[in-house]
């Protein structure tokens, strides 16, 4: 069945555009053209997100990443609407810089710090699906290895041990950096994240943050297309809710 056949729209997505966002159009493209769902770009000065099911904070360098990545974007006018959207149970997905914005805003715990080896890393990375029961991963199998591009200088996830233990226990670690066969090893922990964390969610399971860029490889024409599975999971979660 073609994605187009679902054009009625089970999932309406807003992609927030900050000055300095650079993966906004890719995210819009995946929702609109790959999944066939309604999607709109929303400027960060807007103050409402009413009518949207999913809000995506895209990758890039919002406000130049000045001070700290996400520190200024977190006070953009749209962020009050993002907080309200999350509070009413709406889905929020922060990708890369969007993840940094969500941690700065306190919508997700922890911090994303300078990569262990300082360098900006732009290449494909393997990530292992640690929890396949969430709205962002339900189209994946447990332990499934996805190859997804990463592109960041500040992606090393840091939190204190009690918080890390809690994330583990509550199944809130969604993705971990791994080897091609799912091996968890320092060699494959590209940026030195605590416990190789590449993606997490909030307690309620509606706010997600990940450093990899699934929107940059969601179709076979640009690579393996495995990023599609995360977006397809979100769509599936709305279809199930509607059924």
């Amino acid at each position: 069945m073609s994605a187009r056949e679902h054009a009625g729209g089970a999932m309406r997505a807003a992609v927030v555009v900050f000055p300095g966002s650079n993966s906004d159009h890719e995210a819009w493209h995946v929702v609109h053209n790959v999944l066939g769902q309604p999607a709109e770009l929303v400027w960060h000065k807007e103050t409402t997100l009413d009518g949207f099911d999913v809000v995506i904070l895209p990758g890039g360098f919002a406000h130049g990443d000045y001070l700290r990545a996400g520190a200024i974007a977190r006070f953009s006018p749209i962020m009050a609407a993002v907080e309200r959207h999350a509070a009413r149970g709406g889905v929020v997905l922060g990708i890369c810089n969007g993840f940094q914005v969500l941690t700065e805003a306190g919508l997700l715990p922890g911090v994303l710090m300078r990569n262990k080896d300082i360098s900006f890393i732009s290449r494909d990375a393997w990530v292992r699906v640690e929890n396949e029961t969430t709205r962002l991963t339900m189209a994946c199998r447990k332990g499934e290895v996805l190859r997804i591009p990463i592109a960041h200088g500040e992606g090393r996830y840091v939190a204190d041990s009690p918080l890390l233990d809690r994330l583990e226990k509550e199944g809130r670690i969604l993705l971990r950096y791994c080897g091609p066969r799912g091996e968890i090893d320092d060699r494959f922990n590209v940026n030195g994240s605590e416990r190789a964390i590449a993606g997490i969610m909030n307690e309620r399971g509606n706010v997600f943050g990940l450093m990899p860029h699934p929107e940059r490889d969601a179709e076979p024409i640009v690579g393996l297309g495995q990023g599609r599975q995360l977006f397809a999971s979100l769509l599936e979660s709305f279809r199930r809710a509607a059924a």
Partner: protein, 85 residues
């Protein structure tokens, strides 16, 4: 008119790994400064302020640090308020 200035120092908490400091440390070693035992890189932010009341300025600068200038999960801050000459 004479104003005030806040000098805000934002540093990584001691428990936090500072790869940037490590890189500077290695560079200093390779320049022959073998006495360098460790380096931590932080930020100094200079804020020009209007008004004359140092106490209330201090309270507001502390709030600025908590809200925006430092991420207190990983960073510590301190500041001094100085009168501009």
């Amino acid at each position: 008119m004479k104003g005030m200035k806040a000098l805000v120092y934002v540093t990584l908490k001691p428990s936090v790994l500072d790869p940037q400091g490590k890189a500077v440390l290695h560079a200093l070693h390779s320049l022959g400064y073998e006495e360098v035992a460790d380096v931590r890189v932080g930020k100094m932010i200079e804020i020009a302020l209007t008004g004359k009341d140092k106490d209330s300025a201090g309270k507001r600068v502390a709030a600025m640090c908590e809200t925006l200038l430092a991420n207190t999960v990983i960073e510590a801050y301190r500041f001094e308020i100085v009168e501009e000459r």
